[in-house]
Symmetry: D2
Subunit: 137 residues, 4 copies
Amino acid sequence: MKHKITEIVVRSFHLDMYMHVNNARYLEFLEEARWNYYAKVYENEWIAQEKIAFIIHNINITYRSPAVVGDTIVIHTSLKELGNVKLTVYQKLVQKSNGKVIAEAEVSFVAVDMKKNRPIGLKGKVRELLMEPEMEG
Amino acid sequence: MKHKITEIVVRSFHLDMYMHVNNARYLEFLEEARWNYYAKVYENEWIAQEKIAFIIHNINITYRSPAVVGDTIVIHTSLKELGNVKLTVYQKLVQKSNGKVIAEAEVSFVAVDMKKNRPIGLKGKVRELLMEPEMEG
Amino acid sequence: MKHKITEIVVRSFHLDMYMHVNNARYLEFLEEARWNYYAKVYENEWIAQEKIAFIIHNINITYRSPAVVGDTIVIHTSLKELGNVKLTVYQKLVQKSNGKVIAEAEVSFVAVDMKKNRPIGLKGKVRELLMEPEMEG
Amino acid sequence: MKHKITEIVVRSFHLDMYMHVNNARYLEFLEEARWNYYAKVYENEWIAQEKIAFIIHNINITYRSPAVVGDTIVIHTSLKELGNVKLTVYQKLVQKSNGKVIAEAEVSFVAVDMKKNRPIGLKGKVRELLMEPEMEG
C-alpha cells in the first residue's frame, strides 16, 4: 500500500513518569506525520480560501510497546477509507532499530466549511485532493 | 453510575490553528481527570514499592463538538469494566455552560510489574484498589 | 504586594527523563497563572472588539529547585512594572508543602493592535485594565 | 562561531489563540536543538553510568517576531560560555524563508550528580565532552 514515512526522535520532554513516551504525545506525532502526508492538501490555496477545515471525528489508538528517550520512531501513514463524508487514515509507529510495532492508530476526519460552520461531503475538488497525498513507493 | 468530576478551563496554549482545543491536548485533560479519579491508587505506597505501573493499552476517543478558549470543560470519569487483565475507564467531556458533549473516550489499561517488566493480573490488592476510586455522588 | 495565587498539581505528563517537571511546562504553568491574574483583561469585550493582543516580548526564568509528580505548586503572580510600552509581571512558583522556591520568572509584554499589526502604547483604557487584575489580599 | 543547525516546521498544534507559535513551545524547540547539539554528551555511556544530569538553571528568551503554521524555523545553537560551574548556550531562531530573527535565547546549565543529588564542577571528562558538541562549519 502506498504510504508516507515520517521519522521522529524521542526527546526527554516527550516522556512521563514511567520514562516512556506519554500517551498524549503520540497524538502530536501522528499529527506531524499526517501533515507530511497531506501537505498538498493543508497548503492548498483553494482549501484556505474556501476555509475548509479537516476536523478529527475519532482516534482509536492501541499502544503495543513503549518508546524511550533516544528511540527513532518511524511513522507510516496511509489512506484506509475515503467515504462520502468520512476519511479514515491508518498510522503505524515502529521502532526504526528493530521494526517492533510501538502503536497503531486509525484517525477519521470530516471536512467542515468554516464559513458556514457545517460539514461538507468528500466530493469534487476536496475528494481529488484527498486522493493525492504525498507518498513514497 | 458513580463517577468523579474534574473541571478544566481552556487556555490559549491548548488551541490549534482552527482555534479549537487540539486533539492531543484532550488526552492530557483525560489523564488529569484519571489522576483525580485514581489518586488513591497512584499515591498508594504499596503500589509504589511494588513498582506497579498502569500502562495504557488503548484509547478510543470521539470528538463531538469543539471547545474554545475560556470554555470550562467538565470531565466525568467512571469505571466501565474491570476484567482479569484489562481495566476500562469511560470519560465524558461536557461544556459546563450548556451540557453539550465535547468528547467521549474509553481508555483501557493493564497493570505491569516494572521490576520484571511484565503484565500482572488485576487481582488481590491491585483489584481492591482499582474498585475504590475517589467518587462523587 | 498584591498578587493572585494559582495552584497546579504536577502530573506524570509534565515530567521529563530526570523525573522533574520539564523546563517548557513551567511556561504553560506561568501562562495558566497569568490567565487567572488577568482574566478581566483577557475576557474584556472591548479588548476583543479592538483586537488588542498581549504579546510576550521576554521571559527570564530561573529554576531553583525541581518539582516532581504529585507536588502542588503555588504560583504567585504580581505586576512588577507598567511602562509606557512594556508591562512586566513577576511570577514565583513555590512548593505548597514547604514554601521552597521552585522557580522565579519575569515576563514582559507589549500590547499589539492586531488589525494594524503594530504595537500600541499602554495608555488610556488598556492601562486602566492592566492596573486592575484579579487579586488576593 | 561554530554552531549546530536544527530545522523545525511549525504545525497547527504549536499555535495559540493568536495563531502564533506559543511561548512555551519555543522551549521545546530549543531543547530539541540542544539535543542535536549535545547528542554526543547526552548519549555518552559514561555520563549515563555516572548518572550525571544537565539541569537548566536559567532561560532568558526574547521573542522578536512571530512564527505561524507552515513556517520553517532554523535554530542555531552554539556554546556561549563554559564556566567552572555553569554552562551557557546561545540559541537563535530564524525564519528559513527570509532570515528574520524569530527569537533569541540564552540557556544556562549546571551538571548534577544524581546519585548524590548535588552539583559537580564542569571539569575533567565532563568539561571535555561539553567542549566537543556536534557542529557544522
